[in-house]
């Protein structure tokens, strides 16, 4: 290996190391705070304790919020993947007039501040006399999750070889069979990647939830925000670690089920 190449390689590794550290350092700090016995952020830590995790898991308020967040996020994943994938197919395949405008319309929730989306939906529900049901919260989250699925699915569809579908049809497969056995498996990486984004967007959603949460039933980010107004202790860090572990588990499960390498081609 030449000296010049060795220097460049070292610089490359250093840069990569710095980027990884930049990404992981906040998680490390949260972990330290979650395990530190002091009721405030202190460095260096004075010991190791699980008291904040015990507090988090033994609190009915935190637990109810955690389960509600998971429940809503799972429904949002299902709805947003179905809606987002079908919209992507229609936009990419449908020869629809004004498809660029349609794409912009579907992506528009990403361009608006989420707090305005939340307020607008809240007013709409109130004026319609619907109150604040759980499904209203699901609708709000789905609205901002769909663009992620749409975007990732459209990316896959751009490189899609339609001759595969034509071959299946010519061999006698019905349109629905072509869709479920040819099209869907091929666009699956994009749909799944969008689904993961949808889960994270819903699970961490705060601005929309602030307006649409069900009375007596808040999601975890809302409860955490409320909590830190009065109690800024390690329970917040413990809750953050639980969220991180949950997201990591979801990604690892998907890796086991469909193979994470499938996304890498995106």
């Amino acid at each position: 290996m030449s000296k010049r190449f060795g220097g460049a390689h070292a610089a490359y590794l250093t840069l990569n190391g710095a980027i990884v550290a930049f990404l992981l350092l906040p998680i490390a700090i949260v972990l330290v705070f979650a395990l530190n016995p002091t009721p405030y952020i202190a460095f260096p830590p004075v010991g190791v304790t699980l008291r904040w995790f015990v507090k988090f898991f033994s609190s009915p308020e935190f637990m109810n919020a955690l389960w509600l967040s998971i429940y809503v996020a799972v429904i949002v994943v299902i709805l947003s993947t179905v809606i987002g994938a079908l919209c992507a197919l229609a936009i990419a395949r449908g020869n629809l007039p004004g498809f660029r405008l349609l794409t912009t319309v579907f992506l528009s929730p990403l361009m608006l501040p989420a707090i305005l989306t939340g307020l607008a939906l809240f007013q709409l529900f109130m004026l319609a006399g619907l109150g604040r049901p759980v499904w209203g919260l699901v609708v709000g989250h789905t609205l901002v999750a769909v663009p992620y699925v749409l975007r990732t699915t459209l990316a896959v569809l751009q490189n899609f070889d339609r001759r595969v579908e034509e071959a299946a049809a010519m061999l006698g497969a019905s349109p629905s069979r072509v869709f479920f056995e040819v099209t869907l498996p091929l666009i699956r990486p994009g749909v799944i990647a969008g689904g993961i984004f949808a889960f994270i967007v819903s699970f961490d959603q705060l601005p929309i939830s602030l307006f649409l949460v069900v009375p007596s039933g808040e999601t975890l980010p809302v409860v955490l925000l409320n909590y830190i107004r009065f109690d800024l202790d390690g329970a917040i860090a413990a809750a953050s670690m639980v969220s991180i572990v949950l997201a990591l588990t979801a990604v690892l499960l998907l890796e086991r089920i469909i193979g994470l390498r499938a996304y890498v081609r995106l």
């Binding site: 002091t38 009721p39 405030y40 952020i41 202190a42 609190s59 009915p60 308020e61 307020l119 809240f122 007013q123 109130m126 004026l127 006399g129 049901p133 499904w135 479920f180 056995e181 498996p185 939830s209 602030l210 307006f211 949460v213 009375p215 007596s216 808040e218 809302v222 409860v223 925000l225 409320n226 909590y227 830190i228 107004r229 009065f230 109690d231 800024l232």
Partner: protein, 348 residues
């Protein structure tokens, strides 16, 4: 490869299940429902865990609480004849914003809420719309391990030895910061509304660390990020028995009153239940439970607190005489100008 099937039966089963889920709340349709607001943290834990279940049992109703702050814009966004809340519990500043827009009642009726008769006068004074059920005293939190003597005056915050180690709040977003600004007007000028004197005094407090929530100030004191900060007494007393080197100091000029105010919305369809709920919150037993849970001072004169609480909280005529209430209606009318001015002062 898995073969997907989607029959009419599957569709009907799915639709029925979804309809049942959506229709589920109808089961409780006959039970009166009172909609109100509630803070989080320990307060919410005790309120939702003990107080509300007792009220629901006594009045055979259901109480729905909204803890997703901010409440005022949500109340604004709902029709006045079908308000989002029947009872609004929030701070005094927001209550005054709401009363100006006709979103809450200016006064409550002692005939409908009998416990109003047992309150200290400040709880229903002309500085309050609705009723202040609890209050905290705003003074100083300070470190006891830094060789500091107990602060005696609001002027002590300006002591040069606290430069960079003193704390207050981001004035546009925090009512403690707003009250502290008014107190600066009183201490250094002609009174709580002397803004010119307040601005000048604020300038002299730089460098000062500003926090958005009281929780942040508490942690700053605990971690010695600041040695002295504007804080309410409950923010210090809640660490009682935890061997933390912090204490509360009440300045000799008086302490600011941080009230917890309850009010009723004019368009409520649950007026009787709303009155009963506020009366319940004002009852001696409930007051004692909540006061001892979060170190708030009770508004009801008949409350008998435990010895430790009795020694520290503002629960006698002599003690409540030290509470200083500010004119939130006056402040809210000038808030935009004040925000712009203090932002310039603290940025410069």
């Amino acid at each position: 490869m898995t073969k997907w099937t989607f029959s009419r039966r599957t569709f009907l089963q799915g639709t029925a299940a979804a309809a049942a889920t959506i229709a589920a709340p109808a089961v409780h349709a006959q039970t009166p429902v009172l909609k109100t607001t509630a803070w989080g943290g320990k307060w919410g834990e005790v309120l939702k865990g003990q107080v509300i279940p007792a009220f629901e049992k006594e009045h055979k109703c259901k109480v729905e609480t909204d803890s997703a702050f901010p409440y005022y814009p949500k109340l604004q966004a709902t029709p006045k004849n079908a308000p989002l809340y029947d009872v609004l519990h929030t701070n005094t500043s927001e209550q005054w914003q709401a009363v100006v827009e006709g979103l809450v009642e200016p006064k409550l009726s002692a005939k409908d809420i009998p416990n109003l008769a047992d309150l200290y006068p400040y709880a229903t004074s002309d500085k309050i719309c609705g009723v202040s059920a609890f209050t905290s005293a705003i003074g100083f939190g300070y470190r006891t391990d830094k060789g500091l003597s107990e602060p005696k005056s609001w002027k002590d915050l300006a002591d040069p030895k606290f430069a960079g180690a003193r704390g207050s709040y981001i004035i546009p977003v925090n009512s403690l910061g707003q009250m502290h600004l008014m107190m600066l007007g009183k201490i250094y000028g002609k009174g709580l509304t002397d803004l010119d004197a307040a601005y000048k005094a604020l300038e002299q407090l730089k460098p000062i660390k500003m926090y958005d929530f009281t929780g942040g100030m508490e942690k700053a004191l605990l971690s010695a990020e600041v040695n002295i900060g504007v804080l309410h007494d409950s923010g210090i007393y809640r660490y009682d028995g935890q061997n933390q080197p912090i204490a509360f100091a009440a300045p000799s000029e008086g302490v600011l009153s941080l009230e917890q105010v309850w009010n009723i919305t004019p368009g409520t369809k649950m007026r009787e239940l709303a009155n009963q709920y506020i009366n319940f919150i004002l009852s001696p037993d409930v007051q004692k439970t909540l006061c001892e849970a979060v170190w708030y001072s009770p508004s009801n004169k008949k409350v008998k607190l435990g010895a430790n609480y009795d020694a520290k909280l503002y629960n006698t005529e002599a003690k409540v005489a030290q509470l200083i209430q500010v004119d939130w209606k006056w402040y809210n009318e000038r808030k935009d100008d004040i925000d712009a001015r203090v932002t310039r002062i603290l940025r410069g």
